[in-house]
Amino acid sequence: MTNTPQMPPPSSAVSEEIEALGRECESYQPVIQSVFDEVKRILVGQDDMLLKLIIGLLCRGHILLEGVPGLAKTLTIKSLAVAIGAQFSRVQFTPDLLPADIVGTRIYNPQTTDFSTRLGPVFANLVLADEINRAPAKVQSALLEAMQEKQVTIGDETFKLPDPFLVMATQNPIETEGTYPLPEAQLDRFMMKVKVTYPWRNEENLIIDRITSGKSIELEPAITTEKVLEMQRVVDRIYVDENIKKYVLDIVFATRQPKEFGLDIDYLIEYGASPRASIYIIMTSKAFAFLNGRGFVTPDDVKAMAMDVLRHRILLTYEAEAEEVTSEDVVQKIMSTIYVP
């Protein structure tokens, strides 16, 4: 499922707790694999995007996707929703969208002379916020607040959002005229920013065959949302050693004070990553370890997740832009310098 580093069993006895946790993680491997297999019946390629969505689900975080149109973003999240037996809703963000279009509104019924509440599309397990940068700030804030609070207030009633709840927002990297780019403070609320790339040639060949054949594939739920909640609780218990925490803190602090780590890149970084970065790196590393059937986090898990967590959290200077240095370059530089425990 993932190109993961497998640690051969040691020559000595492992702690019972870790061993039990490891066995528990391994027992969920077939469950995860069944979700993957079900989604892959319709989805070609984009394994990385699917993996990150599942990690987002397991960590109760939200994902920001960046990719040009036509890369199966909607198809992926829709298929995942079906595979885990969850509700799915899609919101196409446009400049004329209103907050009530996202969260819902109260509607007056003249016959009963009473108000009724109509819940918005945000009340689903998996929500696709398509082209979030096309809507004005007010609408973006309505969604982001719902993401943060996991509840929505309409009138004087508060409604809890369903569990599990994942928002996958997309940004179109082209056609940026007339858009409202998400400010850095709002970007920070997304656990990961995943870049979606074009499929390989052989994958696109398969896509052509599947789509143009006219055959439709109906997906079936492989698991239920209760199973997802169960797996979330297991992920919470994955062991993170102090060495790993120190490693993560070194990485995040290197984005704030690079000189202290022997990095000559402080002229490139305006603002480093916030504490959310540390939290999310640990959380996503735990989910990654879980997906690999391990009850503990290793530096490989951290390295696998750090880029997606950090790339949208580092604000670069004008010098960096002039030198065409991207945040990925900065993160790569940091990762290749910080000592692995």
Partner: protein
């Protein structure tokens, strides 16, 4: 070929832009009433040269006549007069120019100024008009070098051959730069890594001695045990760097293993080192609780893996 072109593209673009600018400089946009030209300007003694006067006018002029002067040392060749009319039809209308040329010869080498030239003609109203044109310079050589008297036409400036040479040199420099850049980018073949010896001791000996000197921690002291395995892991990483010239401090064990597999250097010693590092990782990240025998066994394994010695476990805890 495409790769090499990519490297010399900047030089090529510079050359093309420079040539374009120069060529456009020769385009004379605009009308002149009269222009005198000498062909050739650098002449060997005894070789005749031609002075051409071209008269352009917006009106229909008739019978233009040119007074060709004969300064000292230069004289007109008899019967060498030629006269013609050039008619050019363009978007701005029809342009008519009268061309009159005479041949000269020089008696002695030297530089001669021929002119000014007095041009008389009848205008469209039948009246006589006159204009004066600037003199021209011609150089006569006793025995002119071949390149001075060859194909340098009257309209070509003196620095033309130098420009051609500069362009050719620029192209050559661009090609050389591209070839050099291409050569530098080639990844050299994997050679045997330089082993870093400290004094007369091999990296294996240094690593083994360092591990031997570590104090055996109390198995009940989790912190001390972790530090011990941390130290062992550090020593083994430094050993791998010294022996195989590969940076290891910023790589995980899995990444190091991948690199060794790629380099096809997974011999028994390396595998043994990886096993030890794997155990260290389990202690560092997975709360593995080694027994006192396991902790002492680290030194035994180090002796076996690094220096090929079978050492007995002498027991004892710090």
């Amino acid at each position: 070929m495409i790769r090499s072109l990519n490297h010399i593209k900047p030089a090529l673009y510079a050359v093309i832009a420079f040539a374009f600018i120069l060529l456009t400089a020769f385009i004379v946009d605009g009308e002149t009433t009269g222009e005198v030209d000498v062909n050739p300007r650098l002449v060997r003694l005894g070789v005749p040269f031609t002075v051409t006067v071209e008269i352009e006018s917006d009106e229909n002029i008739q019978n233009p006549r040119v007074d060709f002067p004969e300064p000292d040392g230069v004289h007109l060749s008899r019967g060498s007069s030629m006269q013609g009319v050039n008619i050019t039809r363009g978007s701005g209308g029809t342009e008519v120019s009268h061309v009159i040329s005479r041949e000269y010869t020089a008696d002695e080498p030297g530089q001669y100024e021929i002119g000014p030239f007095r041009v008389t003609y009848f205008n469209s109203e039948g009246e006589t008009e006159e204009i004066e044109l600037e003199p021209v310079i011609v150089e006569i050589f006793e025995d002119a070098p071949r390149e001075a008297s060859t194909i340098i036409q009257g309209t070509m400036p003196w620095w033309w051959p130098y420009l051609i040479t500069a362009i050719c040199l620029a192209i050559l420099a661009g090609l050389v730069a591209g070839w050099y850049a291409l050569k530098r980018r080639r990844i050299p073949d994997e050679a045997a890594p330089a082993v870093i010896h400290i004094g007369s001791r091999s990296p294996e000996q240094i690593a083994y001695e360092a591990i031997s000197k570590l104090e055996i921690p109390d198995p009940e002291d989790e912190e001390a045990v972790k530090e011990y395995y941390d130290a062992v892991d550090d020593i083994l990483r430094v050993y791998l760097t010294r022996r195989y010239n590969m940076p290891t401090r910023d790589a995980t064990l899995w990444e190091i293993r991948q690199e060794f597999t790629r380099r096809k250097r997974l011999d028994s010693r390396v595998k043994g080192v990886f096993e030890m590092m794997n155990d260290c990782d389990w202690v560092k990240f997975a709360k593995m609780e080694p027994s006192s025998k396991d902790i002492r066994n680290v030194k035994v394994r180090a002796a076996d893996v690094l220096v090929g010695q079978k050492v007995e476990d002498t027991g004892g805890v710090a």
